[in-house]
């Protein structure tokens, strides 16, 4: 593939993506599309974005050769793209800075966000504090209970956290509620979506902001290893960290792209979040994509040990990359992710996020079957400090 220029003008990635929203939201999306088209190539805007990424986030994030872990496999060499070292502890902040800068240029003093585990909410609250913006974060009331620390973090940063009581009271309902807020307050409000989903231009815009991950990696890998990796792996919930590292590699057809979904208790149990592995096409949250749904088109509840992967949809570009065969999508269970989590702690002194542990777990599956001169690059999308509670509970401990 020499050229890759999706989405088209209407936001379509093949049959996926698009703008599936009520007429009441169309003008807001048109304004956003126009603003993004103007700023995405504006040297001043890009310089501002680059400055923030360097001096506030700490980019570029390093690539690290996980030597002991690789030796343990006796196969492929595993390299980690260290998004866990970013300010706020994950890749989420890359995108939030981009969108918050746009909000500033559009003169919107109020930003809103949805959050599941709280990582995107914390990143948004962080930037809102940095730019002096009002910040409201919608979070399912179930998640508010499960993620009390992140709720407190957002409040410390000055954000208002609104528990959402509708539907399944989780991430998908928080997204619905944030959309409702946006349509009501669009004059003064910018909606910062946290993943590569939602109506066009969000999937494209979030991808562009996150693709700094892959752009850096494409320069760093040859410097470190003399060539590009044989495969790039990333976990996929909504899919923003995965698109971020995949996108600059799409044109390098010799590089396998592997997205790793959450198989939860196992695909056969129905308790999972493996949208691409086990879902089918539908329309939710403003775009057409793969969804986990029942026979009547109702969205079903999902499960994953990692709250950040616990989402019944997935970014439309991933749906396209799957159908076109350019990327492969697989799933690993809660237990497999936990095993990888512990291995990385003990062998490399790195505590990974449970989300990222899914990508690590699949690397652990394929590395032993590969040659020692082969290279895997895993996007370590976040650090695991936020997951202490969940992991301790699994080990029978209570704080």
């Amino acid at each position: 593939m020499r050229v890759y220029d999706l989405p088209d003008a209407k936001g379509h990635f093949g049959p996926y993506g698009g703008v599936f929203v009520s007429e009441t939201l169309i003008s807001a999306l048109e304004d956003l599309k126009a603003a993004y088209a103007q700023f995405k190539n504006d040297p001043g805007f890009l310089a501002e974005f680059a400055y923030e990424l360097k001096h506030y986030v700490g980019r570029p994030s390093p690539v690290y050769h996980a030597r002991r872990w690789s030796e343990h496999f006796g196969g492929a060499q595993v390299y980690l793209k260290r998004e866990d070292l970013n300010h706020t502890g994950a890749h989420k902040i890359n995108n939030v800075i981009g969108q918050a800068l746009l909000a500033r240029h559009l003169g919107k003093p109020r930003v809103i966000a949805e959050t599941g585990a709280g990582q995107h909410g914390v990143a948004t609250a962080t930037i809102a504090a940095r730019y002096g913006m009002e910040c409201v974060v919608y979070m399912g009331s179930e998640d508010v209970k499960r993620q009390a620390q992140n709720v407190y973090r957002m409040k410390l940063l000055g954000a208002t956290v609104v528990p959402v009581e509708s539907g399944s009271k989780t991430l998908k309902d928080a997204l619905n509620e944030a959309m409702r807020d946006w349509v009501t307050n669009v004059e003064n409000t910018f909606y910062i979506i946290g993943t590569v989903a939602g109506p066009h231009p969000y999937p494209m815009m979030v991808r562009d902001f996150q693709s700094v991950i892959g752009k850096e990696a494409r320069e760093q890998m040859p410097e470190m290893t003399g060539r590009q990796p044989d495969a790039v792996l990333a976990c996929v919930g909504g899919g923003s960290n995965a698109i971020g590292i995949f996108h600059p590699y799409i044109i390098d057809e010799s590089v396998r792209l592997i997205g790793v979904e959450a198989a939860g208790h196992g695909l056969e149990t129905g308790q999972h979040s493996a949208t691409l592995c086990a879902g089918r096409s539908g329309v939710l949250h403003g775009n057409r994509t793969y969804l986990l749904q029942d026979d009547n088109g109702q969205i079903i509840e999902t499960h994953s040990i990692s709250a950040g992967l616990d989402y019944p949809g997935v970014g439309p570009e991933h749906a396209w990359l799957k159908d076109s065969g350019r990327a492969e999508y697989v799933a690993v269970t809660d237990d497999e992710a936990l095993e990888a989590f512990h291995k990385l702690c003990r062998l490399e002194g790195i505590i990974p996020a449970l989300e990222s542990s899914h990508a690590l777990a699949y690397a652990a599956k394929i590395a032993p079957r590969m040659r020692k001169d082969q290279i895997l690059l895993v996007n370590l999308s976040g650090r695991g400090d936020k997951d202490m509670h969940t992991v301790a509970e699994k080990s029978g401990l209570k704080f």
């Binding site: 209407k10 698009g18 703008v19 599936f20 929203v21 009520s22 007429e23 009441t24 169309i26 003008s27 807001a28 048109e30 509708s166 539907g167 399944s168 998908k172 309902d173 619905n176 959309m179 409702r180 349509v183 009501t184 669009v186 096409s281 539908g282 329309v283 939710l284 949250h285 403003g286 969804l291 749904q293 026979d295 009547n296 088109g297 109702q298 969205i299």
Partner: protein, 269 residues
């Protein structure tokens, strides 16, 4: 002529405006759906917008969200809703029924299958809230072929370029959403609506209904003086929610009150 167009023509001759109630099929329970439809007609409804429940009603406020959740707790499906239209149609051949809901249940059934089943049941029109113009071409051509009207929403922020497209693609009537925001929010500014409707009418001869923010007879009367139809959703669903066991008589009484207020307005005008 479609049943919807015939209804608007008849009302025009009578100098009256259409009253269009909305409620979610299967709320408060599946057995009430068809009796509620008949009660609304008895109370003075001219067209019924029958809501198809969805797990993620992004464009709806809390009242209609809750009604959708109640219906889904009863396991209500799009097939059930189409079945109730057929049951209603067996004793009412005059009142148009418009199915209103979100894209995913329709896509899950398949647009072609849906159009065939809805037409066979005696439905007249369809509103898919999250199919704006950009994504609606296939829906419109499929519904056209089946003989069903595609009803589009317009908002205060709809541009002239889009009005032109809606005028070309819309069938039956247009539904002007008079507020920014979700269903059930705030109240309506009738002067503003009148100004906006005059502008919309410079693009289309389709009848224009107005909804969102109509809570009582007085507002309905004021809106009826400028619009071709008055749509009432959240306020009616509140009646159903307040006393589920008496939903049918309460819905009828509420409808009668609105009808009387609208017709008084017509006589005075």
């Amino acid at each position: 002529m479609s049943r919807i167009t015939a209804t608007f023509s008849r009302l025009k001759l009578q100098g009256r405006k259409a009253l269009i109630p909305f409620f979610t099929a299967g709320d408060p329970d599946p057995a009430s759906c068809v009796p509620l439809m008949h009660a609304l007609v008895a109370g003075g409804a001219d067209i019924i917008e029958l809501g198809v429940p969805f797990s993620d009603p992004m464009a709806d406020g809390p009242v209609i969200q809750r009604s959708s959740e109640r219906a889904l707790k009863h396991g209500v499906t799009l097939r059930d809703v189409i079945g109730w239209v057929a049951e209603f149609r067996s004793t009412n051949s005059d009142t148009p029924v418009v199915l209103m809901g979100y894209a995913n249940p329709v896509e899950s059934m398949g647009v072609d299958v849906f159009a065939g089943a809805a037409k066979a049941a005696g439905a007249d029109g369809v509103v898919v809230v999250d199919y704006p113009l950009e994504e609606a071409e296939r829906l419109v051509s499929t519904l056209d072929a089946a003989g069903l009207d595609t009803v589009f929403l317009l908002s205060p922020t709809t541009t002239d370029a889009r009005l032109k497209q809606v005028a070309a693609l819309g069938r039956g009537y247009l539904y002007y959403v008079s507020l920014k925001g979700v269903t059930g929010a705030a109240t309506i500014d009738v002067v503003d609506v009148a100004r906006r409707l005059a502008h919309i009418r410079s693009f289309t001869t389709l009848p224009v209904g107005v909804g969102f923010g109509i809570r009582d007879g007085e507002t309905a009367r004021a809106v009826a003086q400028v619009a071709d139809a008055v749509v009432i959703g959240s306020r009616l669903v509140q009646e159903i929610e307040a006393a589920p066991a008496e939903a049918v008589p309460r819905a009828r009484a509420f409808m009668s009150g609105i009808r009387a207020a609208m017709d008084t307005g017509a006589a005075a005008a």
